[in-house]
């Protein structure tokens, strides 16, 4: 046992907290058409001061607002090349969010995300270029195609297991790519449809106002994707899926408890596919063209990298991942092929060190700290000994701390009294007049706390057969059996309990 070191504990809070006045009236406003408040402010009593404090329990909306506003405010001041990086970031972030819905929320491992975007983009563009449909209608054709594609892709999703389904959807993307690149009508452009009309006037295209307008559109697209995310995840649909998450392996179970799990999954898939269709149409308009690269494997892998780096299953993961990958891929274009290596390296590092991508690192860090604290505490505190200052911060009833000290010292004294003669004294006469030492030891045992306190169980009424159990100390929770030894005299059972307790005492 090393010498004890008493570290000072206590921390200044950095968090900004409100100090509400309970007498003041507070009007709580809600997000229109929902029961939700704008921000999740909650009042708590600070356990250190008992004073009331108002804390923001869910800080995510705050971070989102800050992040998105920064993007919106800074972008207009950036050089042209970076404006288009920002726009591409928005588009990819939108795609990524919708994909996260499919993979994370619906739990369908589809790799046909870009294929859906591409298909919708192609058909919307074709309608514009060849049928002369005005551009605003592209934003309707896109989701219609997305929905149809989603419906087709959804059909096998409940039949095929994860890996096979992923391969199937990858195949779909490849078929699309081969199909458009072999279309005779598109051969001159290498499979691309060009001259697509757009919300960006033709003479602004690739000019600063056009870029800014493009960014504005892409930003709205990102907001739209976030809205879809929020609606799906926070309404009944997402809640159903979250409830079923623990039993995803067992759909039959989910259905038995009244959750229509399949239907919810498919619905999420269809909604996301239609939204991806909008992205597709936007994509064609933003570039005023669409080419088969959208179906290519490297694009898909880039998207995959975003997801892995950011963290699967969360919107912030999708956006942060997109930001990192786009910044490297499009922002550091001078680096050439090296940047692809860089993305791969980051992806590798993240998969090795982070459990759930960048955005999961905070929880991971907390878990790590908790584990470390546990290890250190186990090292610093002796079993059944006094609490160290850090442990004391977690014990509400401070008298407990004194009991620990007292009982530890008491046990040290009692241990010295345990002799073979004393044990024999108890064996001969477990009840009745005892020596001072035995009486003191027994009294300590009998006063022990309820949790895991030994009792004797009479196996059958009227029969002298006993077994030793320990009560739970929790209302309604039955006692546990200590061991399977049976005693056919009550005095033997009394003595067996005594020996168990002596053992516990000497071990402490």
């Amino acid at each position: 046992m090393t010498d004890k070191v008493y570290y000072k504990v206590g921390r200044r809070p950095w968090e900004v907290k409100g100090h509400p006045d309970g007498h003041a009236s507070r009007q709580r406003s809600r997000i229109p058409f929902t029961n939700r408040h704008w921000l999740k402010w909650r009042d708590v009593h600070n356990p250190k001061t008992l004073q009331r404090e108002r804390v923001l329990v869910d800080k995510k909306p705050l971070w989102w607002s800050i992040g998105l506003s920064l993007l919106l405010v800074i972008t207009p001041f950036l050089p042209n090349s970076l404006i288009s990086v920002a726009s591409i970031f928005c588009i990819y972030a939108a795609i990524n969010i919708l994909w996260t819905l499919i993979v994370g929320t619906a739990g369908i491992f589809s790799l046909a995300t870009l294929a859906v975007v591409g298909m919708s983009g192609y058909i919307a563009a074709a309608a514009n270029v060849y049928l002369g449909v005005p551009w605003p209608f592209m934003l309707l054709i896109g989701p219609a195609v997305g929905l149809a594609a989603g419906a087709i892709l959804a059909a096998p999703s409940t039949r095929l297991d994860g890996l096979y389904y992923a391969l199937l959807t990858m195949g779909v993307a490849e078929i699309c790519r081969v199909f458009v690149s072999q279309l005779r009508a598109l051969t001159p452009t290498g499979g691309a449809i060009t001259q697509v009309d757009s919300f960006i006037p033709e003479d602004w295209f690739l000019q600063r106002p056009g870029l800014l307008l493009g960014f504005g559109g892409a930003f709205l697209l990102l907001l739209g994707a976030l809205l879809v995310w929020r609606l799906v995840n926070s309404e009944r649909l997402g809640m159903i899926l979250r409830a079923a998450k623990t039993s995803r392996e067992d759909e039959a179970f989910s259905e038995a408890v009244g959750i229509d799990f399949r239907r919810a999954r498919l619905l999420v898939f269809l909604i996301s596919s239609a939204a991806l269709g909008v992205v597709g149409a936007f994509y064609a308009m933003y570039y005023r063209s669409i080419s088969p690269t959208i179906f290519s494997l490297d694009q898909l892998l880039l998207l995959f990298a975003m997801m892995v780096i950011g963290g699967l299953g969360r919107a912030e993961g999708a956006v942060v991942g997109a930001a990192i990958v786009i910044l490297i891929d499009k922002g550091l274009i001078e680096l050439g092929p090296l940047r692809i290596i860089l993305v791969a390296a980051i992806m590798l590092l993240v998969t090795i060190f982070a459990r759930e991508g960048f955005t999961g690192s905070r929880d991971q860090f907390r878990d790590f700290r908790k584990r470390k604290a546990g290890e250190r505490r186990a090292h610093r505190t002796e079993k059944g000994g006094e609490a160290m200052p850090e442990e004391a911060t977690e014990i509400l009833d401070k008298q407990e701390l004194y009991y620990r000290r007292f009982n530890k010292r008491l046990r040290e004294r009692l241990k010295l009294m345990v002799t073979p003669e004393l044990i024999e004294e108890h064996r001969v006469n477990p009840l009745g007049h005892h020596s001072d030492a035995l009486a003191r030891i027994l009294n300590y045992f009998r006063r022990g706390e309820m949790a895991d306190k030994y009792v004797i169980m009479r196996l059958k009424n009227g029969e002298e057969r006993f077994r030793i159990m320990a009560v739970s100390g929790i209302k309604g929770m039955p006692p546990r059996i200590v061991d399977d030894r049976e005693y056919d005299a009550l005095y033997d059972a009394y003595h067996a309990v005594f020996l168990l307790r002596i053992n516990d005492l000497l071990e402490s």
Binding site: R52, G448, R458, P479
Partner: protein, 766 residues
């Protein structure tokens, strides 16, 4: 194999021959059960005694009975039957209450409302799982709510109010602190802010719930079980009501200083209806419609209210400070099962303890019932201590009380039935247990299955029978020794007074007549003054001030306070019985120490071993020497027994002139040699100093005394719970039995008692 469970109880617990007894049975895993009637002859399987004996009795009962599962509503609440939907206002309304929540947080609790958990219709004010006040409304499709800012602090009074206006959808939820230096668990120095004022526009309009308005719970339905009440509330509620308009902030503040709101739709004035003798179960609505709230499972009344200021310690001094009504989610005073069979005991039978034996395969339950003759027959009556039986009903000390093993000096010996009862948590608590919020249990009743009334049951903490099963030892011996006896009960004596005792030449107390009412003390005193003869054969008797509910004798109330061996302690100001208006606690604190009646009173308890009695010099005085006829001068009396091997043990009583033992009392025997696990009881300790255990303190002992009362009456008292359990040893023929025979033979005779002539002044040569 299906798991079969059978439980049952009867009502009443004791009946006269010719009066019907209903048996309520619940069974799982079986749809019929075999029944027969048995007479309980001896209740313990200890090989030193006669063993477990029951005798099958011919009866006109069918041999097979259809049974089914019957459900039990746990938790106390108050129900307002609202068939006309008067409490489902379609216009603006406000509900308000004073509350003292004891366990906010964890599970949702409903303080008050007209709310259907199943259909999500109606409105309610409650506490959400985060421990915050919440007002919620539902239209059957969705639920909307407004939540208070300030977290509720356990056991601190706040005034709460929620208003709702369906036109604007605006809801206002207020929480106004009414904490003072007296009324709450913590004082004003703790810097909590209990106030909150939130205004919010809700998107849902409440529709009529179609169910009852409930205080401290909400209506739920289960196809198997039917209607029941869930989301129960723990804590106190004081004056509350509904107003048919959205009250302003100022209006709410007015309520919080004690002004009842004008023109209420309903106003449950919890301070209304107090009488000198207490208050009943119904919380009166003093509003225009008289929509009274009927308490279920005995919400505890006569508790301090939000405005309690400590000067008045009883509702009798100022009812307006006693509006608190305490609700508990685990209270149970009536299972309300349907009777399966009714039995009318015929007058041809012997007075005794009988049981309906219900069995399915191996599983057997015995439902005991005490039968008293239509008219007194014998010269001897045994007063079965039904109050005590109820006080200990289903105690869980071995499972829940940390100090239990230290008190009993034993490792408990539990049975499978103990584990089952404890696990089920369905059949309520004893006055030795605590509710889930830590409050002591003050009500207990026989309208529920009670494990420790079963013959053959041993109290886990000490591994010997307690109360009824132990008392069967006395009955077995009376029968063995050839004495005819009638049984009467505490309830009979309480109800009929002296008249229940007078027909008998002598009345025997059983092992533990601990819980007594004023009427019982008066009856005993009157009986003794009138020439009756009492054999007090127990320990720790006439101890707690107890009273049955005036409208339901099945349920008795006790509050443990200030001194005595108390499993809990009533909160300040809450020591008076709601059922009688008298101060509870120990009788000795109210000038009626048991010594004044039977010469002895509680002095020590221990459960490791019992000792024997030894004759004291007074036993050689001719006034009492006849009691010891056949017993040697230095013979140990009762160095054997089913309760820890001696006649003096478990709980012991002592002679004390300072506490009112009649001055002419002869101390005829006493026990000695008790271990230090017999400490002097707390009510005897004014200053604490070491050495108050059996090996050092001379007050730790059991006494045996004798004194005469007017008109040839007398008291013999052997102050020990173990006394009667020594009787069955050695085949029933032993020196404890000899003392008993000498006494009984004399006590059943009319006229003067043996030794009564020796009244002269002593003129000794030696």
């Amino acid at each position: 194999m299906t798991n079969v469970r059978i439980f049952g109880y009867c009502d009443p617990l004791s009946a006269r021959m010719g009066e019907p007894v209903d048996f309520m049975i619940s069974a799982e895993g079986a749809d019929e059960a075999k029944i027969d009637l048995v007479r309980l002859v001896h209740g313990d399987f200890n090989p030193e005694g006669p063993g477990f004996i029951e005798e099958v009795i011919e009866s006109d009962l069918p041999s097979v009975l259809p049974v089914r599962r019957q459900y039990t509503q746990n938790g106390s609440f108050a129900r307002v039957v609202d068939d006309n939907g008067q409490l489902s206002p379609q216009s603006a309304f406000t509900i308000h209450a004073f509350i003292w929540p004891s366990t906010p947080g964890g599970e949702r609790q409903t303080i008050m409302g007209s709310w259907s958990v199943n259909s999500s219709k109606g409105y309610a004010l409650g506490i959400n799982p985060d421990g915050k006040l919440e007002f919620w409304v539902g239209d059957g499709k969705s639920v909307d709510q407004i939540t208070s800012d300030a977290p509720l602090v356990p056991k601190v009074w706040v005034m709460v109010a929620a208003s709702f206006d369906p036109v604007t959808g605006e809801a206002c939820l207020r929480q106004i602190s009414v904490q003072n230096s007296w009324n709450s668990h913590i004082g004003l120095v703790a810097p909590f802010d209990h106030n909150s004022h939130v205004v919010e526009t809700l998107r849902v309009q409440p529709v009529a719930s179609g169910v009852d308005f409930i205080l401290a719970g909400a209506h739920e339905n289960n196809p198997e079980r039917g209607d029941f009440v869930s989301t129960l509330y723990n804590g106190k509620i004081d004056r509350c009501g509904i107003v048919k308009r959205a009250l302003t902030s100022e209006d709410m503040e007015q309520i919080s200083v004690g002004t009842a709101p004008p023109l209420p739709l309903a106003y449950w004035d919890t301070t209304f209806g107090f009488e000198d003798t207490g208050i009943g179960d119904t919380i009166q609505d003093t509003g225009p419609h008289g929509l009274h709230a009927k308490g279920v499972n005995r919400p505890v009344r006569a508790m301090t209210g939000w405005n309690w200021r400590g000067r008045e310690d009883s509702f009798r001094l100022d009812p307006s400070q006693y509006g608190g009504v305490a609700f508990h989610d685990d209270a149970l005073t009536d299972c309300k099962w349907e009777p399966n069979i009714t039995w009318i005991p015929p007058s041809s039978m012997k007075s005794g303890v009988y049981a309906l034996r219900v069995s399915v395969g191996e599983k057997v339950d015995r439902i005991p019932v005490i039968i008293r003759p239509e008219k007194p027959r014998a010269k001897i009556a045994v007063q079965m201590s039904t109050f005590t039986y109820l006080a200990y009903a289903n105690e869980r000390l071995s499972f829940e009380a940390q100090i239990a093993q230290a008190i009993t000096a034993h490792t408990p010996v539990i049975s499978a039935d103990d584990i089952e009862y404890n696990k089920l948590e369905e059949f309520g608590l004893s006055t030795y247990d605590h509710h889930s919020d830590g409050a002591g249990v003050c009500y207990t009743s026989w309208k529920r299955p009670i494990i420790n009334l079963r013959p053959g049951y041993r109290m886990a903490g000490m591994n010997f029978p307690w109360a009824l099963p132990a008392d069967l030892s006395l009955l077995w011996w009376l029968e063995h020794a050839g004495y005819d006896y009638d049984l009467i009960t505490d309830h009979d004596v309480h109800r009929e007074g002296k008249a229940a005792m007078e027909p008998y030449k002598t009345i025997l107390n059983v092992t533990h007549p601990e819980y007594y009412s004023e009427k019982m003390l008066d009856a005993t005193e009157g009986y003794l003054v009138g020439g009756g003869r009492v054999m007090y054969l127990g320990g720790n008797g006439y101890y707690w001030v107890t009273h049955p509910c005036p409208d339901d004798p099945a349920c008795v109330e006790v509050r443990k306070l200030d001194v005595g061996s108390r499993a809990w302690q009533a909160e300040a100001g809450e020591g008076y019985l709601a059922t009688s208006g008298e101060r509870s606690g120990l009788w000795r604190s109210r000038g009626r120490a048991p010594q004044k009646l039977v010469g002895l009173g509680f002095t020590t308890e221990g459960m490791d071993r019992s000792e024997a009695f030894e004759r004291m010099p007074d036993s050689f005085h001719k006034r009492a020497a006849w009691i010891f006829e056949g017993i040697g001068a230095e013979e140990l009396i009762g160095d054997f027994g089913l309760a820890l091997g001696g006649a003096a043990g478990v709980e012991l009583d002592r002679y004390d002139l300072a506490l009112g033992t009649p001055p002419h009392t002869l101390l005829v025997a006493a026990s000695s040699g008790h271990t230090d696990n017999y400490p002097l009881v707390s009510e005897e300790i004014s200053y604490a100093f070491p050495g108050r255990g059996g090996t050092q303190d001379p007050q730790v002992r059991g006494d045996m005394i004798y004194f005469t009362t007017p008109n040839d009456g007398a008291v013999f008292a052997a102050g020990s719970i173990a006394w009667s359990q020594a009787l069955p040893c050695k085949g029933g023929d032993n020196n404890v039995g000899t003392v008993m025979r000498n006494l009984l033979n004399a006590f059943v005779k009319d006229g003067s008692l043996p030794g009564s002539a020796y009244t002269g002044e002593e003129k000794h040569w030696r």
